[in-house]
Symmetry: C2
Subunit: 301 residues, 2 copies
């Protein structure tokens, strides 16, 4: 199996994680981002600019962003569902924005209240606006590996969205396994179907235990960028109590033991997973948080 | 990546699972084994013959085995730590026994109260005894991917135990990731070091999220036999609350979506995971049990 020397991880706990947990105080969000900024992570999805009515968890996005320490070596990004959100992100000073569109028609309507075509139609304008602000645009394609309402998603549909994103002027694409329906077969099928020169990132959930197997499959196919959420925060919205985002410390733990560099200090990351656990006030499911890394030994009996 | 057409799974919940949970009634053990026998599984590790003082959970092994329905298409096995246990297993009528020895000296002393050399010295006699009873012997090498007391295990040490097992007349070997220290790199290193004509099985724990990534790595290297525990029962003895055995339904769920046959009915298996959850009286961590398979869709909004 092929493996790269280095992988680039984007930490999504402050946004994707906290957006799928009961609301937490603004000060805790700032504490979490600041702690993450000190772990060696080079990319952090900090906030989203969404309707505060639909997503009260992110109502304080501008306030959070104004208060966090900005480290020069870290690329902070904000997610937006539409042009209005992108405008707010740019106004807040972000130079990296993510726009989300679902591969599934039903999921796109549930998630952003309009058709896939309507989401795509807005992209050229969003990309032009971002360019004016010298900002980059990544298109995140949700439900890329399956939709909880529609079931399997034809990889050709994902490929069409990638083409539309590229034509619109987006600089990057990401594939979201929104409810953990991905398997190694789905990763392979998607990569067989998608042809693009754009940088690609994959976002896996561990809902059904496959996150690290999917990541390994993607590595073998040359993908070197992944999302992950410290402590695995961000539950699965369709299965209360079930695991959502893959835990960053589980990804780093496996990659480092394989000799794949991430630039991240695993011990600092595990301590930050502990902070995340404190903030969301529930026991998190990350195995590396609970059991410690494989190098943490028990006293000899 | 290489993948086989078919994988053979051995279900270990009745033994390895229940041995690492608080004791449950004999009738529940029988119910669990009988339910597993109706899922299409072709191999079940049913009980162990160990000291009832050291392992009260298995004190009723002979009673359980006498009462369960024996299906002609299923290979039932029993585990034993030494010759005395093997004698009891053969007396109870088992024709497949597993003898456990650790790759780690410290773990072997903690687990079976003697040195690795002492465990190995007994093997030829055990294999001869089993042959007299027309029974097969599998040597399970615990801590093959790391030891919670000693840390990394030299794959050459595992290879030496395999050689000793083969020389003693064992018919099969298994590699146990006893406390979930395995990663794809450890699987590769082990398979690079071990050269044997014996059938090989791998036993992964999901303590740190790597179980299915490890399994995928082993598949790519030609391994087609794995242990798994329905519902993931059998905690991690060194980290209270942490995940132990990989859940059988998570393995089957991923393999079937990849087009790899197991002969198992996933729905029946998930129902049996629900029964296992009832029996151990705690919420289990299996993602496929909690969230359902990827094919189980939500109503359209």
């Amino acid at each position: 199996m092929h493996q790269p020397d280095r992988v680039s991880l984007r930490e999504v706990a402050p946004r994707d994680g906290l957006q799928n947990e009961p609301p937490v105080p603004t000060a805790d969000k700032i504490r979490l981002i600041d702690a993450l900024s000190r772990t060696g992570l080079s990319r952090i999805e900090a906030v989203s600019f969404v309707s505060p009515k639909a997503v009260p968890q992110m109502a304080d996005a501008a306030e959070v962003w104004a208060a966090v320490e900005k480290h020069s070596g870290i690329r902070y990004s904000a997610l937006a569902p539409n042009r209005k959100g992108v405008e707010r992100a740019l106004a807040a000073g972000f130079t990296a924005v993510e726009v989300v569109v679902s591969a599934s028609e039903t999921h796109n309507r549930a998630n952003v209240g309009r058709s896939v075509a309507e989401s795509l139609a807005e992209l050229p304008d969003i990309c032009a606006l971002a360019r004016e602000h010298l900002a980059s645009v990544e298109v995140i394609i949700a439900t890329s590996f399956g939709c909880p309402f529609e079931g399997d998603i034809d990889p050709a549909q994902v490929a069409r969205i990638v083409e539309a994103a590229e034509a619109a002027g987006a600089g990057r694409v990401a594939f979201g396994d929104t409810t953990g329906m991905g398997t190694p077969r789905r990763v392979t099928d998607l990569l067989d179907a998608v042809g693009t020169g754009l940088p690609m990132l994959m976002h896996f959930h561990d809902t059904r235990g496959t996150a690290l197997a999917n990541l390994l499959t993607a590595l073998d196919r040359g993908v070197t960028e992944f999302d992950a959420s410290v402590g695995g925060i961000g539950g699965c919205p369709f299965a209360p109590g079930a695991t959502g985002n893959v835990a960053t410390e589980e990804v780093v733990h496996m990659l480092h033991d394989m000799g794949v560099a991430t630039g991240i200090d695993l011990d600092a990351l595990i301590r930050t997973a502990g902070l995340a656990q404190e903030i969301v006030s529930r026991p998190l499911e990350s195995g590396v948080l609970r059991a410690g890394p494989r190098t943490s030994l028990s006293p000899k009996p």
